[in-house]
Amino acid sequence: MTKKRKIVKPSASVLLCCVIAAGMLAACSSNNNGNSGTSDSSTPAALAGNGDNNQSTNKEDPVTIDWLAYNSFGQMTPGNTIEKMVSEKFNAKFNIWYIDSSNWVDALNVKLAGGEMPDVLLVKPDFNTISKYVDNGVLAPISEDTIRQFAPTYAKLINQYDLWNTVKYDGQIYALPAININGDYPTALIWREDWLKKVGITKIPQTLQEFEEALTKIRNNDPDGNGKKDTYGLSDYALPAILGAFGYPGISDFKNAGKGIVNLDYIQKNGKIQLAAIQPEMKDALTLLSKWYKEGLIDPEFITSENTGGYWADSNAFYNNRIALTGKGMYYHWRNQMNANAPDDLGGGQYQNLLKAQPNAEIAFGTPPVGPDGKSGTIKWGVNAPPVGITTKGAKDPRKVETILQMAEASITDYDYYNTTFRGVEGEDWKEENGNYINLNPKITSADATKKGISVFHMIESPDFNKKFDAFNYQFADSVKTEGYAPFPAPTVDSFTKYAGDLTKLTDDAYLKIILGEASPDSFDDFVKKFEANGGAQIEKDVNEAYNKMVGK
């Protein structure tokens, strides 16, 4: 037996070697494919120059595009009205890719690694993926001249929002930036107005002192009238707004940071890109929060978040008469003003949920507290949406590049085209009445909408068209707009990918300990040193170098 076993062992290891070798071969060959793709990609930019001719020659065979420049919530039924319209307009055929939207990145990566590629795709989850895709030979550079030639209005719009930096890598443009205009509206800060009135505060608090006064009264004066001292001022969702009174909040989302999801934002200070978490002003902010925590203004359960289930903007603590101040949601989640032209309008989803739980509740949109140096603001997402990239496969055919750019241009310049591709067919999916947009299928799911071809071809959301189309919504948004902090869209660097996870944990740990009183605010200095030593300094160095290289300094 022992003899036999000795024979088996080497044969097993030989087999293992074979398996590993085969795996490596497969990986190598796919790499090679990628590389050859990139080297080819230098041609389309050159070829695109003589692309003018193609525009007039509409009689040509339609160009076929493998399309993934949309959120594939469902599988589009081929031959729908919208697809036909787009196909005719651009003399193009579409082979619509379907990637499971709930697991987009993984599902797509497998396909890309397996050697399949669409011609054009949405770069998700955000622009930071561009560098990875470029290194793996997925994305092709798009020359700025080509963009300005075929999509001049679009190019101007991106200039206006200053987004080109987000899609550059080694000084070249690798994707078409997209805009989410809601990212320009800071997250809301919501007060229980009926509680404020009950404790004798008629003016919505504006400074830090006024906040402290109001929250203390809410803690002590039993605003819910149940005879128990069971109300707190705020929980985790409103914390960034308090930090914001001192400067850019070091943690923009305590719930995510606690779960270990990377939560490190860049800011630009004195001409240099820095990490918000280690700015000295956060020490003052944490000192104040630790005092508030001691006085019971902060719900001790903030560590496990006020959202204990359900949609992310829901605040169970707010619905259950536990806290008086919440945040993180957007204006449209909490909208408490009804559209007179839409009779069945019940307001924002979270506002409705609050009323279902507390029928007599009243809310008010607050403004973030103004700190000692006059700073204030809540977090805003920033206007950059997932950009649209053209792959090395797509870039081989200049006609495809042109068509894609022309489609982007049409989304910005042609109101009817934009509405049809983004919202659906007029009279079927929506109608306009007295300048108001009425959704004819308000209960349609994203999957069903995609099936009909809605939001498949628009590529870029136009801020102006959005505001024109949904006027009431944005009028309301403007009426409650406050100061906001948006993260600085800095280029991705490898050191960030490497260290950001651990640094987020370190930051979360240090911040929570100070707030909970387990560490003195002076420990913030030690935290900063540790943060810098564990990769923070490296990230800041790399990101500044990369940024200067990108903008050509």
């Binding site: 087999l15 795996g23 497969a26 396909k111 309008d345 994203s446």
Partner: protein, 291 residues
């Protein structure tokens, strides 16, 4: 009198055991009751704190949202088909593979066993598997979900060990009576292996009922996708619907919808499980202890 005394202590013991087991059952059941209740409750109850074991008011919008989806029925069909096919195939292959491996006179038995065991520790990984499926032309076909996992090494070894324990004398006597190998396998080994095969069937069945990742990777056509993937979509799509910005967009109560989804997906397994459980326990024990 002494008999009465022992009787009494017996009773105390029995009561104690029953109390502990009842408590255990309650602890196991309560979270389930909470989920059942919340799945049929309106938003204000779902969002409120505390325990909800008995529904006080009803709102079936969660279930309506789940069943409104046309895909759910085709997906149910796909999952049932997949499970039945996979269980059948796995049973046949596992049994036929395990029997020879259990025989000492199989040439190079140790090598073949090592060959099979090797796959337990090393696999190609996701991307090579994907390329393999693609090159085999299985993409978008139900076979891409069944064939890759048709033989589970772990289950094969359990069955092998089980058959190994069947006395050799049984086969020898059959041989003397003139039975050939096939006949022995069919009429003697198979009936004796039923408990372990039931275990294999149950393991495989549960696995295939719950699997979704392979369907996401290999199946492009929505109509061919399995239940768990479709349910996953419904849940995540609900999250998205609530985030839509348009005015007049109704808010889907995602939490009760998620819980309704959970109930819908586990109900069939829940109905079948009590009847199969005894095989489950028996088969696993036999396989593990004697192996």
């Amino acid at each position: 009198m002494p008999t009465y005394k022992t009787h009494k202590s017996d009773m105390i013991f029995t009561i104690f055991v029953y109390a502990v087991l009842t408590l255990l059952a309650v602890v196991t059941l309560l979270p389930f009751l909470q989920i059942v209740t919340l799945s049929m409750s309106p938003a204000e109850i779902v969002n409120s704190y505390g325990f909800h074991f008995i529904p006080t008011s009803f709102d079936f919008s969660g279930y309506r949202q789940v069943f409104k989806n046309d895909l759910i029925w085709t997906a149910y069909g796909n999952t049932i088909l997949r499970t039945v096919l996979a269980v059948t195939l796995t049973l046949i292959l596992t049994f036929l593979g395990a029997y020879p491996l259990s025989k000492k006179f199989l040439p190079h038995r140790t090598f073949w066993t090592g060959f099979v065991v090797l796959t337990m520790f090393f696999s190609g990984g996701m991307i090579p598997s994907y390329i393999l499926i693609k090159e085999l032309g299985l993409m978008n076909s139900i076979w891409s979900l069944i064939l890759p996992g048709a033989v589970s090494t772990f289950l094969l070894l359990i069955v092998r060990n089980f058959i190994h324990e069947i006395p050799e004398a049984l086969e020898e006597s059959a041989k003397m009576d003139g039975a050939n190998d096939i006949y022995i396998l069919w009429r003697i080994i198979l009936p004796l292996s039923l408990p372990v095969l039931a275990t294999v069937a149950l393991y495989t069945g549960v696995y295939h009922w719950n699997a979704w990742f392979d369907s996401m990777l290999y199946i492009q056509d929505e109509k061919k996708q399995v239940l768990q993937l479709v349910l996953r979509h419904i849940v995540l799509d609900g999250d998205l619907a609530a985030s839509r910005t348009e005015t007049g967009q109704t808010n889907v109560n995602t939490e009760s919808m998620k819980l309704a989804t959970l109930i819908v997906s586990i109900l069939p397994i829940l109905c079948v499980y009590p009847f199969l459980q005894k095989y489950f326990v028996k088969g696993t024990l036999i396989g593990s202890i004697k192996g």
